[in-house]
């Protein structure tokens, strides 16, 4: 039986043996795990048939759907986390694959952990279609198209989306600077979720952390990105903002939350910054982490942690504006399944000095299963 399918109402559902199912909503960009006994009703709900489900299950799955605007605290494990506790081992089945379709970029962000591959060596050309098939073989409920900057390679992006579209959910990670109406039409056709990286609503600060390669552009960057976000939203494409928390923006999280939610963005994902493994980048990285009063990277991380904590004390993720903290692992466990521009499977290996190849059969030999699930579904224990 086919494990992943696009349902009538547009949600993507992946059935997982002895677990339940995982849903990706292209309306909110959110993932949900549904316990085994509820699968049939969830599938019925997703296909406009009669169903019998607790209200909050329906509520969570309806986030972002046009005309639905109830407000409540988001729950990712449905109907509740305890429904999964019998699950000693998680199934070795990937939820998301992160496809770096290009290693070209028009920015040079000071912390970028992709910089070890960006513009460095040319990858052998690949058939996009073949890579897409290799990825679909693992039946992820969604594929993230990333890079580098995916909008720099328009044809590749179009090919990738056309191959994956309707077979799995699609998320595009972009720095937001390039906007292309033809691609937007494709995004609309296949319900693509866009995630835009932005670190500050002050242009100077953002450009200090995420400078454009061409410094002449820096003055306009924030304006251009916000206009593009506005365009995506007015085309009814859900937008999540990605913010990497560094010493330069850790004090302004409340402001980011406030303004993006007010602007109609669907949610904010805050990343704990990962020290890039690229030797040449250490001094750039220190620029966004150290200051007069913050003299070591340890102090910087501690400060960021404190700021995140106090921010989270007051603010909760809710259905009108989702909030997620994406943890970098504090040990050497990897959570992401990467596909590099040459079509090979890798994982991030944050603490070594390059990404590690994982082969495309046993993905979870080097990727930590629990972390992989947590990355998309939040905490596993209550």
């Amino acid at each position: 039986m086919q494990k992943v399918s696009k349902t009538n109402i547009g949600l993507f559902v992946k059935l997982i043996d002895n677990f339940g199912c995982v849903v990706f909503s292209p309306f909110s960009g959110l993932f949900f795990a549904i316990a085994q006994p509820y699968i049939n009703d969830v599938v019925a709900f997703c296909n406009n048939k009669t169903y019998n489900l607790p209200d909050h299950v329906v509520d969570n799955l309806s986030i972002g759907i046009k005309g639905y605007d109830k407000r409540f605290e988001i729950q990712h494990w449905l109907p509740k986390i305890e429904s999964f506790s019998a699950q000693e081992v998680l199934p070795e089945d990937p939820l998301v694959v992160n496809w770096l379709i290009t290693n070209k970029c028009n920015f040079e962000c000071k912390y970028c952990y992709a910089s070890d591959v960006i513009d460095k060596k040319e990858f052998d050309p690949v058939e996009v279609k073949e890579v897409a098939l290799k990825i679909l073989y693992h039946e992820p409920v969604a594929v993230t198209l990333s890079g580098g900057e995916p909008l720099l390679e328009k044809q590749k992006l179009i090919d990738a989306i056309s191959e994956l579209g309707n077979k799995t959910g699609i998320i595009v990670d972009t720095n937001g600077y390039i906007y292309d109406q033809e691609i937007v039409e494709l995004f609309k056709r296949y319900n693509v979720v866009v995630r835009v990286s932005l670190d500050s609503l002050h242009n100077k600060i953002n450009s200090c952390i995420r400078p454009a390669k061409n410094p002449i552009l820096d003055k306009q960057v924030l304006n251009v990105i916000m206009s593009n976000i506005q365009e995506y939203l007015s085309n009814e494409i859900p937008v999540l903002v990605h913010t990497v928390v560094t010493s330069l923006n850790a004090s302004n999280l409340e402001d980011l939350y406030d303004k993006f939610s007010r602007f109609g963005v669907n949610g904010l994902r805050l990343f704990r910054v990962v020290t890039p493994n690229n030797e040449n980048q250490q001094s750039d990285f220190k620029e966004v982490m150290l200051s007069k009063s913050i003299t070591t990277l340890e102090k910087a991380q501690k400060n960021i942690n404190d700021k995140l904590k106090s921010f989270l004390r007051d603010i909760k993720s809710n259905s009108r504006f989702s909030l997620q903290i994406v943890d970098s692992s504090s040990d050497s466990k990897n959570s992401v399944i990467l596909v590099l521009p040459n079509g090979e499977f890798y994982t991030e290996n944050m603490f070594g000095n390059s990404k590690i190849k994982i082969g495309n059969t046993n993905l979870f030999k080097k990727v930590d299963l629990k972390r992989h699930y947590m990355r998309y579904l939040g905490k596993l224990d209550n």
């Binding site: 924030l222 303004k259 109609g264």
Partner: protein, 402 residues
């Protein structure tokens, strides 16, 4: 459910009556009110020469007294106008008229602005239109129009919103205009709801609000009773608390900016002068502070000498002059109550209460503390406030003019 997320923290606090923004606490006013009721039966009107958000008016109106309230900071004064029961009926009418007119509200075409200033061009234009619209709906009542508009203008401001820092926020940055009209409607509805709830509890609706620096106030009436609370020397610059709203008043509504030169406790030290301080208690404190500075590091010492010492000197001097002026507005045998909380700086109690007693005694009043209690106070404004106010002594000083 009450949201009001898009209103500045100050107005949100005021609209939802959060305690952090009250100049008096309820129990303080209860003590005063009991004293008044048990001892005097000729109280008709109560004067508050530094009335802030009008907490005194709000309380005494419910007890059936008339009030006269003087306030220097325009947005605080306009807030008083807004909650003054005398205005409630007219304000409700205006609100309803604005709401009924929703499809003709000015349109803001821009979705956002990025600016280094507090307000970007589209916002300035739009606020002008909005003000015009409210003026027209109110039959050109500019006082009430300003009062209704002002709590909402920060919705269009480019500034970094922070619940822990409401006076020294950074301006500039991004402002989203998306959905401003829904937010305006929500604000008007909540304001209306609050006014309607309040109005049934007021027993007296005769209240005057006067926008003036007490030092320049010229009144023909003299007062027999006053209740007030002084500004506190807590480094929070209250003139900046309403920086956004004052910008609108100064640049869009008035022709001349407000002068905060004499605002007591504002921390604008440079260039201000002070004269002879007569209170012994104040002088002992000022000397102790300087003595203490000699034992501290060079930097702390310099801070105290160039900043804190002049700041507190100005504070006590200005307070003394303000109460002298107040004295000139009081009848013979007038009675007054002053609610004071003493803070601590560098482990030294700042003797605001004791100095006020000194000031009034020097003016020939009897002055006594009718309630000195130690309280731990945790304001919900943020960490900074906790550090400064974590423990203080409350005084309710009763003064009688001889």
């Amino acid at each position: 459910m009450i949201q009001l997320e898009n209103i500045s923290h100050v107005y949100r606090g005021l609209l939802l009556r959060s305690r952090a923004f009250a100049s008096f606490k309820r129990d303080e006013l209860d003590i005063i009110s009991e004293d008044i009721i048990s001892q005097y039966n000729d109280v008709d009107e109560i004067f508050d020469p530094m009335s802030g958000y009008g907490g005194g008016m709000y309380y005494f109106a419910r007890k059936g007294y008339k009030t006269t309230n003087v306030e220097l900071n325009p947005p605080a004064y306009y807030w008083q106008v807004l909650i003054n029961p005398q205005n409630t009926e007219s304000i409700i009418k205006i609100i309803n008229s604005i709401l009924a007119y929703r499809d003709k509200w000015p349109i803001l075409h821009e979705k956002f602005s990025i600016s280094d200033e507090i307000f970007a061009e589209p916002a300035i234009k739009h606020i002008r239109f909005l003000y015009e619209m409210i003026l027209n709906r109110s039959k050109k009542n500019d006082l009430l129009s300003i009062s209704i508009l002002l709590p909402f203008v920060s919705r269009f401001a480019n500034y970094i919103k922070s619940s822990t820092n409401i006076t020294h926020f950074k301006h500039g940055g991004f402002c989203s205009y998306v959905g401003w009209d829904d937010d305006f409607e929500e604000y008007l509805n909540i304001l209306q709801e609050r006014l309607l709830l309040d109005v049934v509890n007021f027993k007296e609706s005769n209240h005057k609000n006067i926008l003036s620096d007490l030092m320049n106030l010229d009144l023909s009436d003299k007062f027999k009773f006053f209740v007030t609370s002084p500004p506190y020397p807590n480094y929070r610059d209250y003139s900046k608390l309403f920086k956004i709203e004052n910008w609108i008043l100064d640049n869009i509504i008035y022709s001349k900016p407000t002068d905060f030169k004499y605002m007591i406790g504002s921390n604008n030290v440079s260039g201000k002068k002070f004269g002879d301080i007569q209170s012994n208690k104040s002088n002992i404190f000022l000397t102790t502070l300087l003595d203490k500075s000699k034992k501290l590091t060079k930097k702390s010492r310099r801070d105290i000498e160039t900043y804190y010492h002049p700041y507190f000197s100005q504070y006590f001097y200005n307070l003394q002059e303000a109460y002298k002026k107040l004295d000139s507005l009081l009848e013979r045998n007038a009675i007054g109550y002053i609610v004071v909380n003493d803070n601590i700086t560098r482990d030294i109690i700042i003797p605001v209460g004791a100095s006020i007693c000194d000031i009034f005694r020097n003016l020939g009043f009897d002055a006594d503390d009718i309630d000195a209690s130690q309280i731990n106070h945790f304001g919900n404004i943020g960490k900074m406030a906790k550090r400064i106010n974590s423990q203080h002594t409350r005084h309710i000083i009763k003064v009688c003019k001889k």
